[in-house]
């Protein structure tokens, strides 16, 4: 059933998207069950093991006291960056092609932020004291130290999580209303509540348009600040090769880069398994591919600058740290990262590559493997080579840590699988805006631009 985009009628959009919500095949349940099982077995079980036997169950020890948990934290925060940020930028620049894909991209943001928050819980060792990071009057008369980048993190991530949830929800209100009219039973009641009684009057659309744009404008600087702040967790230490001014843009670009690759992966899966072939098309992959190419070039440039400034400093600790990163114990990982994130994406120069779905999927996964490695190297290599040789060491993640990494991916998949059955994963009203209106040949957008 291959329809051209122009041939889709308004009613088809409602039918297709409501169908994606209510018609659930056995394949979905099997996938969901596997994802839930892996989450329980690989994330929660090892975590409880670690809580019971102590943080020593993780391989982190002096001098490398930060390990894969924090690498995963940066990775998931990074993955969250493209969704809402990209959606906001494309909304403000009036990009047509955003409309079919932004909902699931935003969902990706939301869920990777949640997984990132879980990684912090695992990392801190005693998560039952996590409320100590919140500013509240307590019997000890203690207040959090707002001069610490860790507190910037708490504020930034809370704000980003709140902002992203509100942004995705507000954009979905008209769609909840459309789905509300077509569902029965508990689903109907849920959508009645979620849609807030939306009717689609001219006043409501006008208010939604303004509020949505304001939110987009507020969220763009927020997203940039979030990953800058995450980078300061590292850059404000005095550890060689972490103490760098380039870290904030380095992290932000890396985040958008891995996030965009994540969007490509998610789009591929949605297109293939939710039958959205005529909504998510080659145009989207082509555009995302161009974006990935640009980002990979910026990312490569910043990497070169990072190595250059380290070398140019001529500081012995810095030079040793650099040598260790490029040629030491972790060198294979470093060159794997360069291969996946700097060399392989050059294939995107070819339009034929950008518009082929399977190669794009493989590349997007490779980029994210490379980006995970980058985060691991930032944490691992730097702490393994500090100023004096007596504080040198090698860190290898333990089985518990690796298992929790796998479990966190499964947790993300579980959350996403639940999402696609509750939220219309392609925006109904915005896809309609890209279609020819029923009584004219042109789309609304074409008529006014």
């Amino acid at each position: 059933m291959q329809r051209r985009h122009e041939d889709i009628k308004f009613a088809d959009v409602n039918n297709d998207i409501v169908r994606s919500l209510v018609e659930t095949g056995p394949r979905y349940y099997v996938t969901l069950a596997i994802a839930v099982l892996i989450t329980l077995a690989c994330f929660f079980f090892p975590w409880f093991y670690q809580l019971y036997y102590g943080i020593g169950a993780a391989g982190m020890n002096h001098p490398t006291v930060w390990g894969t948990y924090l690498a995963s934290f940066i990775f998931w925060i990074g993955l969250s960056h493209s969704g809402t940020l990209l959606s906001c930028v494309l909304h403000i620049t009036n990009s047509e092609w955003r409309k079919a894909m932004y909902r699931s991209a935003e969902a990706m943001t939301l869920f990777s932020l949640m997984v990132a928050a879980m990684m912090v819980m695992v990392h801190v060792g005693r998560p039952w004291f996590i409320h100590w990071a919140l500013p509240y009057p307590n019997q000890m008369e203690l207040w959090p130290n707002f001069r610490s980048p860790l507190m910037f993190d708490v504020m930034a991530i809370t704000t980003y999580l709140t902002g992203s949830s509100i942004f995705i929800y507000m954009g979905s209100i008209p769609d909840f209303a459309a789905v509300r009219d077509r569902t029965t039973g508990w689903r109907h009641h849920m959508y009645v509540l979620l849609s807030l009684g939306w009717r689609g009057t001219d006043t409501e659309w006008h208010r939604l348009g303004w509020a949505y744009t304001f939110l987009a404008v507020l969220i763009i600087p927020l997203a940039v600040s979030v990953h800058s702040i995450v980078s300061w967790d590292f850059a404000m230490s005095i550890v060689p090769s972490l103490h760098q001014t380039i870290f904030a843009p380095y992290f932000v670009v890396g985040a958008i880069y891995s996030g965009t690759a994540g969007i490509v992966t998610v789009m591929f899966v949605l297109r293939k398994y939710m039958n959205f072939e005529h909504y998510i098309t080659k145009v989207h992959f082509d555009n995302l591919g161009k974006l990935l190419l640009a980002l990979s070039l910026i990312w490569t440039y910043i990497n070169v600058v990072e190595v250059f400034t380290g070398w140019y400093s001529n500081d012995s600790a810095e030079l040793e740290s650099l040598r260790y990163k490029l040629f030491g114990f972790y060198a294979p990982l470093y060159w794997e990262m360069i291969l996946f994130c700097a060399v392989a994406p050059l294939l995107l120069i070819s339009k034929r590559f950008r518009t082929s779905f399977v190669p794009m999927l493989i590349l997007s996964i490779a980029i994210n493997i490379g980006m995970y490695t980058e985060r691991f190297l930032i944490v691992g290599t730097s702490l393994s080579r500090q100023y004096l040789p007596d504080s040198w060491g090698v860190y290898v993640p333990s089985l518990v840590e690796l298992s929790i990494l796998v479990g966190s991916i499964a947790m993300f998949c579980t959350l996403f699988l639940v999402f696609v059955k509750i939220f219309p994963s392609v925006s109904i009203y915005e896809v309609k805006e890209t279609l020819p209106a029923p009584d004219e040949g042109k789309t609304q957008w074409q008529a006014t631009h």
Partner: protein, 172 residues
């Protein structure tokens, strides 16, 4: 008696034209219920202004102030002198200020949106489920029976596929 005339149209242009004619005929209380936001509504029904921008602006200002007060206030309450540096340090506290500005800006925008769009709906309002799919509805409040007849005629002339009468609370 007070009632509402409702015309269903197959496309946005016909609906907009009908709304324009009704407006021209002196009907004030008009609503367009549509599946997509329409461009050019303001040319027909008059300029719309919303209070959302004020909410965003003042929300952001309040957020910024409270962010700085939070960081500086807690630093004063729990003194933690480091190397003779000031207790109220601007560079790190500005980051807290920045984040809180955005947080409160976002929350105030949502509040402004809900208030100005009159959501969530607490009492029943006129609604046509078809308008969430592919029909464009124009509803007009009529004070008297004469008005209702006039409105119905205008809607029919403008090419409405269906014209019905709705009294509030009728369930339609």
């Amino acid at each position: 008696m007070a009632s509402n005339a409702l015309g269903l149209f197959g496309g946005p242009n016909a609906a907009l034209a009908a709304a324009g004619k009704l407006k021209g005929a002196g009907f004030e209380s008009l609503d367009l219920i549509t599946p997509i936001p329409l461009h050019g509504v303001e040319e027909v029904l008059g300029k719309k202004t919303s209070v959302i921008k004020r909410f965003t602006f003042f929300g952001a200002i309040i957020g910024g102030l409270s962010g700085f007060v939070l960081a500086a206030g807690t630093a004063v309450l729990y003194l933690h002198p480091t190397g003779g540096r000031p207790i109220i340090t601007f560079p790190p506290f500005l980051i807290i200020t920045y984040e809180m500005t955005i947080l409160f800006g976002i929350l105030a925008t949502v509040l402004g949106f809900l208030i100005s769009a009159r959501l969530p709906v607490l009492r029943e309002r006129i609604y046509v489920p078809e308008s969430a799919v592919d029909k464009f509805a124009v509803t007009v409040a009529c004070a008297a029976d004469d008005d209702f007849k006039r409105a119905t005629e205008i809607l029919r002339e403008a090419g409405a596929e269906e014209v019905t009468e709705i009294t509030p609370g009728s369930g339609r």
